[in-house]
């Protein structure tokens, strides 16, 4: 896979998807060794450009990079003051001095990693941009699901919550569709896109959605901080109508349905406390697999920083 950047799922071919998923397994195997490091990225530098707060994704990427023996630089960006792309462009320009080989970007503006990727020879990895994409999340989700269902085609996954604002919903549904999984969206009518992707069933009623017989329910965090207007009348009503309540968990448990969540969870909103102890919750595996998936991505990309005759307009 001779690819410089990892920006979204849409641009991946089926072969690239299969390759990345297959590559995650040997990286997971490394975790059982006493020495978890391998020298594959020795001498390379990985720059973290996280404009949005995130402990779990940031540390997951850092661990992945360090286990590949790369040098990790965390550009401590003030979370609050960045609103305009200008500031990011100036930051990208100063990277010239650092000669970063990989840049991992998380930003609230959709499309920003794309803009950076066009302007730099480094490999750019999208760690989440606005409501657009979170491709490494999708990868670890598919990888986790494949551990339970080795043959994914024909399986059904119900993604529930604030679909409209969710980059996880977009990337994960996109990847699952590529793998032949049937995807359904469940959420309040105001949070389900009407011109959404083709081939996805849309539900606004949880019980009806469960009658569709999904193998897995993928819960999204209900994003209070992204909402400019009120899309539903408050968290209690949301939990009752669209959350995994105790009663729904009983039903889910009875039918052996798995539960996934990209984290962090909002207890009492999209799920009740008991879900965290549910034996068919894959939430912890998702976290574990995140490192392996991100190692696979870092390993599979090729930055152009070694090229001598590369475009002089790029840094």
């Amino acid at each position: 896979m001779a690819r410089k950047d990892f920006l979204d799922i849409a641009s991946l071919s089926r072969e690239e998807v299969d390759l990345l998923l297959d590559q995650a397994t040997p990286f997971k195997e490394l975790f059982t060794r006493s020495v978890k490091k391998v020298p594959a990225l020795k001498g390379k530098s990985v720059l973290m450009l996280f404009y949005e707060p995130s402990t779990r994704t940031l540390s997951s990427f850092e661990v992945a990079a360090k286990r590949l023996s790369a040098d990790v630089i965390d550009l401590d960006v003030p979370h609050s003051s960045v609103a305009k792309g200008e500031t990011v462009k100036d930051t990208v320009d100063t990277l010239q001095a650092m000669r970063a080989d990989y840049i991992v970007v998380r930003h609230k503006m959709s499309g920003l990693p794309q803009a950076i990727a066009r302007q730099t020879r480094a490999s750019v990895i999208n760690a989440g941009d606005g409501a657009h994409a979170h491709p490494t999340q999708a990868l670890l989700d598919a990888f986790t699901l494949r551990e339970v269902f080795p043959d994914l085609s024909g399986r059904k996954v119900l993604i529930a919550g604030d679909i409209l604002h969710s980059r996880v919903a977009r990337s994960t549904s996109s990847l699952l569709l590529k793998l032949g999984v049937e995807v359904g969206f469940l959420g309040p009518g105001s949070l389900i896109p009407r011109s959404g992707p083709e081939g996805i069933r849309k539900f606004t009623d949880f019980d009806e959605a469960l009658r569709w017989n999904p193998d897995t329910v993928y819960l999204l965090r209900v994003q209070m901080e992204r909402q400019d207007a009120q899309y539903f009348p408050g968290v209690q009503e949301y939990h009752r109508v669209y959350g995994v309540t105790r009663e729904r968990l009983d039903r889910i448990q009875g039918e052996g349905i798995y539960i996934m969540h990209p984290g962090p969870v909002n207890r009492g909103v999209e799920l009740c406390h008991e879900v965290m102890d549910y034996e068919r919750s894959l939430i912890n595996q998702q976290v574990e697999n995140g490192i392996a998936a991100r190692m696979a991505v870092l390993y599979s990309l090729k930055p152009q920083t070694d090229l001598e005759d590369a475009d002089p307009g790029k840094i």
Partner: protein
């Protein structure tokens, strides 16, 4: 395509390796570790032969892609496969097995990989074909066949499980 070794010749080479390794295995427990790819298939055959003779030993497979010294220079990184080292490496007597020994860099990578699993007591090297042109001071302890080759020649090894048939071909780059 100039065929250098046919199925029979390969069988003889494997048998020769087995003979030498057997002697070592009888003196103390060894671990056969095949280097992917194709080194693992050779290791499988050696291991099967030892099992037939009821010589107990450990067995593992190593993928060295992550340890290669030329990753920065490749346009595309090699496809990674899992390694499988199910035994304790600390204190083990390991016999690394590979199909072709050439510059020695693959084995250097294998040594690095192995030592990240633990600290072996001893490591020996067994190769099916030694084609010379070392770039690193690494020599085999056991080799099935030695080939005279030119540096730019291609030595193509094919094995049943990986490629569908047994053959070693030498293609000269003129």
């Amino acid at each position: 395509m100039p065929l250098i070794l046919d199925e029979a010749a390969i069988g003889e080479a494997v048998a020769s390796l087995v003979g030498e390794i057997r002697a070592v295995a009888l003196r103390g427990r060894i671990a056969i570790v095949g280097v992917r790819s194709r080194g693992d298939e050779v290791a499988e055959r050696v291991s099967a032969a030892l099992k037939e003779q009821e010589i107990d030993h450990d067995y593992g497979v190593l993928d060295i892609s992550l340890y290669r010294d030329d990753l920065s220079h490749l346009a595309e990184n090699p496809k990674l496969q899992s390694s499988d080292i199910p035994f304790q490496v600390d204190g083990a007597h390991i016999v690394l097995v590979d199909d072709v020994l050439f510059t020695g860099r693959t084995i250097r990578a294998a040594l690095d990989a192995l030592t990240d699993y633990g600290r072996p007591a001893r490591i020996q090297l067994a190769v099916l074909v030694d084609r010379g042109h070392r770039e690193i001071p690494i020599q085999p302890d056991f080799s099935g066949v030695s080939l005279e080759t030119a540096r730019m020649d291609h030595v193509i090894v094919q094995l049943k499980k990986t490629d569908g048939g047994d053959a070693v071909e030498l293609v000269s780059k003129q």
